[in-house]
Symmetry: C3
Subunit: 501 residues, 3 copies
């Protein structure tokens, strides 16, 4: 190992070694850091205190559904590119494994328990929150798929998770509200934007972060480099992802809901929105095609838009110590509202695929490999606007006993809040704006950082023998095969070495 | 959009536009109707009343298992045809999303709550029932795969769900029994065919409905249009479906069982029957091959026959308002009976694939694309006959305390029933017959409706440039690709337009 | 059927018929035996006594996770060979269905209930145990994939399950301890090697059993017979397996844990170990490649090593009658220990793939098709050694109240044990050795039995027209297709017949 490194570093200079070993060095530093932080600050929740809630409260089966979505669903959803299929699935695995450790630590440092005792506990609910941070990163990855190297993706995951956890904490727990409104003079008061946690902080944030990062560079159209042709098995692999996301979306939206009634409503609303969004997708997809056929991309993506738009689940229980069961609920109260949300989201998403994305590509050179803007971006904003609308238009009485679960700061609740329809709607709107703005700024900055030449970059296909390429020559170059790698590859590697350096 | 439609309608006449926009119109009407009906008649169950049962009663994890079977399992099971792989998976998604909305509404209109209050509630159990109606439609789809257009499939789903829900309601709740036996003079008495719900109303109904529909037309052999060749990845995709169905069959058979003891028996019986049916499938498959090899079709399908044959779960709680927990149980009491049922079902199914299907094709020109008759048809009838046998032969004492859960009208129960072995067995037999007859008649009628020339039909491959074809030129024609669709396809489309019209 | 057999047996002699029908005969005998044994000795647990524990104790959702791992996860993990993809998945199904019946019976015969009453009961926990026996057989199958015929695999499963269940029972329940230590004079005393059940009896046992069986024969390198080439869809199928195993590994390690606190710790430890092991795998994989790329095999396999190494779940509740809730726990107490275990396991596994496996192939001609030694063998041994270390180094106080759940024979417990750090560590070490030695001896013996010429053997590709070949000509030969098999194949078969016999 070391002999090889030294040999090359002598003959080729440190620079190329840095490029070849860059990933290993960065990943190694990060993982070592995680070990140190876990050792110093993290303990398990006391199983004998909390165990009933942990398992029997059925958090674990919901967690497993979410877990399956993140690792298998998102992974295969992005496997539709013929040349990057395996890369998509494996980078998905890498980033998720990285983010769950990182997000768990970050969230822990923001807990009250940590600030009081210097230690924090983790359990099943913390695992669910960590997975939701993964989702944001994987959505961003969908925008940039095929245009970043693994090192760049790892750095992207680092910066995005950092920003995402902090913003989420800020929006859902504290906000220096005096800046926003003189009616709320107390610094660090609970801001309590409700019903918007997941859709905003995951879908909207992830999508616009990625689009902003794509703006500042990475202006290749990967789809054109992909081989053309008819139906391919990649599309069936992609359907595995689509269907797993489809099936488990109710769990995804319900996982952080408590108590049972909120969870139940989240499940039912998502289920109905998914169903109506699917029928609508086929309908609209057939409409926008000259010959009335269906478009595979729409089926693979827009069928899920209903789940994104309805996913107005509430704040992740960040603030909560483990004894506090962060109450939250899905604010859609009538089945047909859910059905309508699904219909609108699907129309928006198909129109996005058919008309908006091509225009963005032409006018802004904004390439969006997986059409994330149409699946997560616009439906996420729709969700945000719906949450404003529902807060504004629903009569407080119609919530019944669950009003204070959904909006704890409503007038008359235990927390002595003073909100009513208008002010709660304002808060929802501010939350949407904060998320959007931070996502775009964060994405632009991260995009700039990733362009720095010190990091491995994807080759320009027109540019012969740039740096080591991870994607440009497709999976074959990204990955080495096991067998007859031992001999044959060593030969090929050496030849390539001579060519490259 | 509109410009295009008008342009073509002027130049080509309304007829061809009707054909191109037919799917969108019909799907649009249906989805709009659903919204109206959901708005007027449907509410969620009160989450604070019922929530414990809803989630903690562990209905949701079981629902998720069933959900996964329906959307991923059935979808990929039908992906084994090389040219229709993607179509199968996506039409599966479309029909399921359509049926779950429709079946939920239909079942609601048949509830007591609706007839009393004009409103009905939905919750997790209603979702499970809706999914079981999907299964019946998807089984029918398996018979006709590759021979109907999406419009025809949508209409098929409409008629079949309508009939299926009504028949199920009729058989498991009411029957004008005076017609059948003078001993039961009361009109609209509970008929209570037990233990046969799922196998009969789902598997048997779905299979014979489809076979009857295939009889009146659609007499192409899709398999022969499929490319020949060796092992193909389609078969591995199909195995994803097989294995998911295999794994979750215990949940499928147990989902609507209540109380816990019935659920437990259903799980165990299914598990054992699946295992023995798999070993037997390999054994018999090797027997019927001259060289002792295994047949892929048998492995993909007959290994599941045990689950179908044992799936004698009981009546769906249609009649039940939400306060009524419809009791039901799996009537197989001894482990070895389950093992034997699995063995018999597998033998039946493999023999069906090897000898019966080819004969049906030759003599009746009855083509069964996925071999549904061998997986759902015959094992479903076997299940019906077993339910007769078990009612007849088991000593009432051997049921222990659960007798009245399984057969509420048995002598001595709370409902003042007067049944014993013979009469309960007679009821079971009548239930089987009613299901079979309505399925066949319904299938024949639906087949005739689908043949009407006003609907899009699949092209005859020997017939050049008929209507727009969805299947005949395979997936490539059924679906348009996303990219360089924008330019290139528009050109191709226009050319094709000139050719076709 | 019979006519064909007789016809050939007359013309070709009994010998070739025996070979063609061998599988059917053996599978038939086994399945018949299972029916008889199930009929005589097995009953279901009384659902009204135990039902709460059965379902609501949430054993079933965990069981389903494990079930999915065994049937779908392991199956697709082994689908990475292009020519044996379908064979791998279907033989996986066959062996699992066989083993679950067999293991259930075997474990039942070893229960106290059976020795006292001549009957034993089965329920969900017995299903989970049966699946863990499957895992051992499937791991062994991974070593020998492509080099055994189905008949040989069936026999392998028979012998391995027999030995595995008996050894597990011996190690975790009884040991003639007087032989080992004069301090424990009582014959048949509880040996209580804790925390090592799954990793040792499943992963280590399965891996070394397979490697030993591979030693005595079957010395082909299947990978070389596999077509070469770039990235292939087989690798994406394999990733389905990898990811399903990845996702459900926490459930696998937690399934047999009781009470809740142990289950919770097992889940959390596995989760963290999986995450750190994945990041480390990418890091080390990039290090061992000259150009810093990732290796697909490492991603497909070593990412799981953390779950294997941490999987120190405890004894399967064999001894337990159903009233006894066998207590057990995962002995890793601190999150960062789990993170470190994942890192170490991944390093070990990648180094195994990169350096140890090629050396074993060269020097010992020990071919390991799926690299099982690197995924299950070495991490399993690591798990065993860690269990020694943790027993030795942890202060008894740090366990808190759960000490006696983890080590029931520790000084001061209800069972009047006399163990402390050193003696418990000794027991752990003896358990590891017993498992290793029996696995290797059992594997060698089974390998010899499978070499007997009476069983169907895989053809030597250099040896024209040996016996019927199941693998050598790949899936095409192993399986016959459904359609135009009826005519065309019969012709081809007959030709082949004339050639072969």
């Amino acid at each position: 190992m070391f002999k090889i490194i030294i040999f090359y570093s002598l003959s080729e200079g440190m620079f190329s070694v840095l490029h070849r070993r860059q990933f290993a060095i960065i990943a190694g530093i990060m993982q070592t850091l995680f070990i140190v932080l876990f050792a110093k600050y993290v303990k398990y929740i006391d199983p004998l205190d909390d165990s009933r809630r942990v398992y029997s409260g059925t958090d674990y089966p919901l967690f497993q559904d979410v877990h399956l979505m993140i690792f298998v669903g998102f992974g295969f959803l992005m496997a539709f590119l013929k040349r990057y299929g395996f890369s998509a699935v494996s980078v998905n695995l890498l980033l998720s494994a990285f983010v769950i450790q990182f997000a768990m630590l970050l969230r822990g440092f923001l807990t009250v328990a940590f600030s009081e005792t210097g230690l924090f506990s983790i359990g099943i609910p913390e695992m669910i929150s960590a997975e939701s941070s993964c989702a944001a990163v994987l959505i961003t990855m969908g925008v940039l798929l095929g245009r970043l190297t693994p090192v760049q993706f790892l750095l992207l995951a680092f910066f995005e998770t950092l920003l995402n956890v902090v913003v989420e904490h800020f929006v859902f727990n504290y906000l220096h509200v005096s800046v926003l409104s003189s009616k709320f003079p107390k610094i660090y008061r609970e801001f309590q934007v409700n019903d918007s946690g997941r859709s905003l902080s995951v879908h909207t944030f992830g999508a616009y972060f990625g689009l902003a990062a794509a703006m500042v560079g990475h202006k290749k159209n990967v789809m054109e480099m992909d081989e053309h042709g008819g139906i391919h098995h990649s599309d069936l692999f992609s359907m595995i992802g689509t269907l797993l996301l489809w099936v488990f979306f109710p769990s995804f939206n319900a996982a952080i809901q408590e108590p049972e009634d909120a969870r139940h409503r989240a499940i039912m609303n998502t289920y109905l929105a998914m169903a109506s969004s699917t029928v609508t997708t086929f309908m609209v997809s057939s409409c926008v095609d000259t010959l009335g056929r269906f478009n595979m991309i729409h089926i693979q993506s827009s069928t899920l838009a209903g789940g994104v738009a309805i996913g107005k689940s509430s704040r992740v229980p960040t603030y909560s110590s483990n004894t506090y069961s962060g109450s939250a609920a899905n604010a859609v109260l009538y089945p047909y509202h859910a059905v309508i949300v699904g219909v609108v989201a699907a129309i928006l998403s198909v129109i996005g695929h058919a008309w908006i994305s091509p225009r963005l590509e032409k006018s802004l050179h904004l390439f969006d490999t997986c059409g994330v803007h149409n699946l997560h971006g616009m439906p996420g904003i729709l969700a945000g606007m719906l949450s404003i609308g529902f807060a504004y238009f629903y009569e407080p009485e119609s919530y019944g006993k669950t009003l204070y679960h959904i909006y704890p700061y409503w007038i008359g609740g235990e927390l002595n809040g003073d909100r009513e329809n208008v002010s709660q709607a304002q808060y929802q709107a501010i939350g949407l704006l904060v998320i959007l703005i931070t996502a775009i700024i964060g994405g632009l900055l991260t995009g700039c950082i990733l362009k720095i030449k010190i990091w491995n970059q994807v080759d320009d296909p027109d540019f012969p023998h740039g740096e080591m390429n991870y994607y440009a020559q497709s999976d074959v170059n990204f990955l080495s095969k096991y067998k007859h790698a031992q001999e044959q590859q060593r030969l090929r590697d050496r030849e390539q070495m001579h060519e490259i350096y």
